[in-house]
Amino acid sequence: MIQLIATPDRPMFEQELAHMFRERKRVFVDRLGWEVPVVDGEFEIDQFDTEDAVYLLSLDAAGVQLGSVRLLPSTRPTLLSEVFPHLCERGVPIGEDVWEITRICTLGSGPEALAVRKRLMIGMVEFALLNGVKRFTLVAHLPYLSRLLAVGWDCEPLGLPQPHADQLVGAMVINVTPDTLIHLRQRAGVQGPVLRWEVRDAA
């Protein structure tokens, strides 16, 4: 299942979020060699992990984290608006119904990672439909573009790719409709909702 952690839920999920920042450091810094800030030597936390950020965590039946993603409202500062506006040929899409996807992080390998990624994507689309989000934006490294498209959603470029840190990166927009959800669920063999918004007592 995909656990939604919205801003007010943060205090109840401190452990899970700490674990997520640790896994993000392991994937993005240790494995992929990204030059992003590391806090206290173990957490990958940047200027966009603010109060505005919403996180989706993919958890297995035992509650073990399999992956995570960060969602940001485009009405607040985003990676695209602050760092990569030049990737958008016709301006950065901004609006109540536009959110940005960053830090898609999956922990397994090969087909299993693809399955986790698909469920995360379904979770994002469910989040979008529940909250009136019509479009997601994201910045993709070109070598990873194929696996992003392989999810099977309606994805289009916002501008031509440009060099960044020895690689090409490009901005994408994903159009979300109820059909997107049906299609993604079919393709992933998922029957019902994956997104869960479990609100815990701050005991």
């Binding site: 392991r26 240790d30 494995r31 992929l32 060699g33 990204w34 040929e89 922990l107 397994g108 390998s109 090969g110 087909p111 299993e112 990672a113 693809l114 490294h141 070109l142 070598p143 990873y144 573009l145 194929s146 696996r147 498209l149 392989a150 099977g152 309606d154 994805c155 289009e156 470029p157 501008g159 031509l160 790719p161 440009q162 840190a165 020895d166 690689q167 090409l168 490009g170 393709r187």
Partner: protein, 258 residues
């Protein structure tokens, strides 16, 4: 901004295309628009393995002479372009091949044979979907024409979106899985293997993952048993071969040819 307009138009068309004819029409148009003459959209499977070949994607508009040459050669394992796709996650020009792979006499001969069929250069976009066969989209230029470098970023998009459109139309995502029989690795085994493949020592891996050196050793030994191989090198090769780990995992962002 007409270049991006053309890209956008192709992507919208490809995303909506409902059959292969429609898509190949769009693709052939894009090939011309972005300054190329031929295209090859292929999955890299051994064509002698019948069960793999039935689902594999092969859309090639190379000149007849080159197609005949490729067919006569049969052994795609020697093809320098396909070898470079395994080596590089980033797109590359064929004229830059010597910077990506060792162009031994055999590979040089194959590239020269392509040139002799009326090709001056090409541009290949690797397509790597974990758990599926490696693929690529190559654009080739006929003799006497020069690559327009300004078109290459656009061509990369065309390659990726065209490949995905074919995957979608043929519903390959559901059927073209690499053999299920492959050994599954646990997340920790996978982590250790990727780091080992990057050439890190057990000690270094232990530091990075926050586990003991003995545990790292155990993870790798268990993975070797699952693959029934004796050495770490064999383990890395096998895991790369069936996409349990990928070149992007191992080589990370330092993939650009140096």
């Amino acid at each position: 901004m007409p270049l991006f307009d053309d890209v956008e138009q192709f992507v919208k068309g490809a995303n909506r295309a409902t059959d292969i004819n429609e898509l190949s029409g769009l693709l052939n148009g894009a090939v011309e628009t972005f300054g190329f003459d031929h295209v090859a959209l292929v999955h890299h499977v051994n064509l002698h393995a019948p069960d793999a070949a039935t689902q594999a994607l092969q859309y090639i508009t190379y000149p007849d002479a080159l197609r005949a040459e490729m067919k006569a050669r049969r052994q795609l394992g020697d093809d320098p372009v396909l070898i470079a796709v395994q080596r590089s996650a980033s797109a590359f020009l064929w004229s830059d091949l010597p910077q990506i792979i060792d162009m031994n006499p055999r590979r040089t001969e194959i590239l020269n044979a392509a040139m002799a069929c009326g090709i001056s250069d090409g541009f290949t976009v690797p397509v790597n979907v974990p758990g599926e066969f490696l693929g690529s989209c190559s654009f080739a230029l006929r003799a006497g024409r020069e690559v327009k470098r300004a078109m290459l970023p656009a061509a990369q998009y065309v390659g990726c979106f065209a490949f995905e459109a074919v995957r979608r139309i043929r519903q390959l995502g559901d059927t073209i899985r690499v053999k299920e029989a492959k050994p599954a690795l646990t997340t920790r085994q996978y982590d250790c293997l990727v780091l080992a493949a990057q050439g890190r020592s057990d000690w270094h891996i232990a530091q990075l993952l926050g586990i003991s050196r003995e545990t790292v050793h155990q993870h790798i030994e268990t993975a070797k048993r699952r693959y029934q191989v004796a050495s770490r090198t064999q383990l890395v090769v096998r895991a790369l071969f069936d996409s349990q780990i990928t070149f992007a995992d191992v080589l990370g962002p330092q993939l650009s040819p140096d």
